[in-house]
Symmetry: C2
Subunit: 250 residues, 2 copies
Amino acid sequence: MHVFAVEGLPEIRAGDDIAALVADQVDLRPDDVVCVASTIVSKAEGRQADLDDYEAGERAHSIAERVGELAGEEKDPRFAQAVIDASEELLIDFPIMLAVTPFGHITVNAGIDRSNLPDADLLLLPESPGASAQALHGQLGSRVVVTDTSGRPFRYGQRGVALGWAGLPAARDWRGEHDREGKELTATVQAVVDELAAAANLVTGEGDGGTPVAVVRDWEFGAHEGSEDLFREKEDDIVRRALAAWEGKT
Amino acid sequence: MHVFAVEGLPEIRAGDDIAALVADQVDLRPDDVVCVASTIVSKAEGRQADLDDYEAGERAHSIAERVGELAGEEKDPRFAQAVIDASEELLIDFPIMLAVTPFGHITVNAGIDRSNLPDADLLLLPESPGASAQALHGQLGSRVVVTDTSGRPFRYGQRGVALGWAGLPAARDWRGEHDREGKELTATVQAVVDELAAAANLVTGEGDGGTPVAVVRDWEFGAHEGSEDLFREKEDDIVRRALAAWEGKT
């Protein structure tokens, strides 16, 4: 498996045709997995926003006050409002805003980005990364993963994750397969789209030299069952239930 | 970046010299990252155990009863005891045993494996994956990550994670670096050892054709600050605090 960043892409702006720009730089093969950072998908789809677009309501003011007190500096309640508006639900709102996006991704601040923006205060996540991936897949022919970087419980640091995918299943389902001794595997489902996003993030990076697209070449999904489920359902998520109970108590 | 599985390794047994066996199969370079599944590290280190080794105490009996009732089948309380003994703490014990290992990794059943074992009921995680990685690094010269697969909150499926590492930092610390516009990056710390483990897991697999070692070649850490912190401290982990409060209530 070979993983490489696509060099030479211009700064992406609203309305840009990402597929055409990528195809200009690299001869893609149908079984390539093209990993596209959600930031440029959002930029192309016009998901820029300004703080002036938001009028902070009561909850946003309350969040900004509590977080500002903790941080020892004033926080803009309009940003809290932007996060609330981009979320289906906030699992907790203090000391961080841990948001559920409409498409099921759980991340801090609903994934709203405040860096790398030449002409706006904020960049929202794509409205439907699955649909974005499907459109890119249709144009490019290759398999596509729309990626983000996100923190996680239990471990410090961020890692690449998938937000949307097309042309491949989200996961390999090993259930029912057997180990070398003939015992049924206890390992279950391998979230390959997240692992592809993580591999891509190793060669792209976030800073000045950031390259928002990487290609994973010569990787085979293999003869396994596929699963399309990536985002946990509420009732299957013990941590989410615990957070809801905890939030209710504080 | 090139990622490939190391073919031709024999079934690993207690006392085997993994470094020598790997070096027999592949000409390693100093900047290769050798990703070694914790299962074979455990096997070489003699971390096999049998259920008969454990005498179930009161909590283990209680866990087995509750989980057995939920699953509709009898559960062996000695397995619950094995998990308790391998853990510093159980964050919750029902409906799953979510354990903190002595080296800080949080995972279901303390990572105890019940598959792929020719001559024992159970395989415990290495006692200190960091020390194991350091020893392999010393023998091989290359960078080393000891990996596992693990589930996670919010998302279905398992993905590769790092348990120990040597010859490279756990994370790239981007703090203080700047984006294209000269703004300080809001993205912070990139857990590269987890991303390397995820990339390796894409080419190794878990079933009959499983290959427990992969090499990541031509990947550069780059000119960034490094961080050695991977496992969150208790007080920094909102989810862990929420789980503790939830566990206390039920």
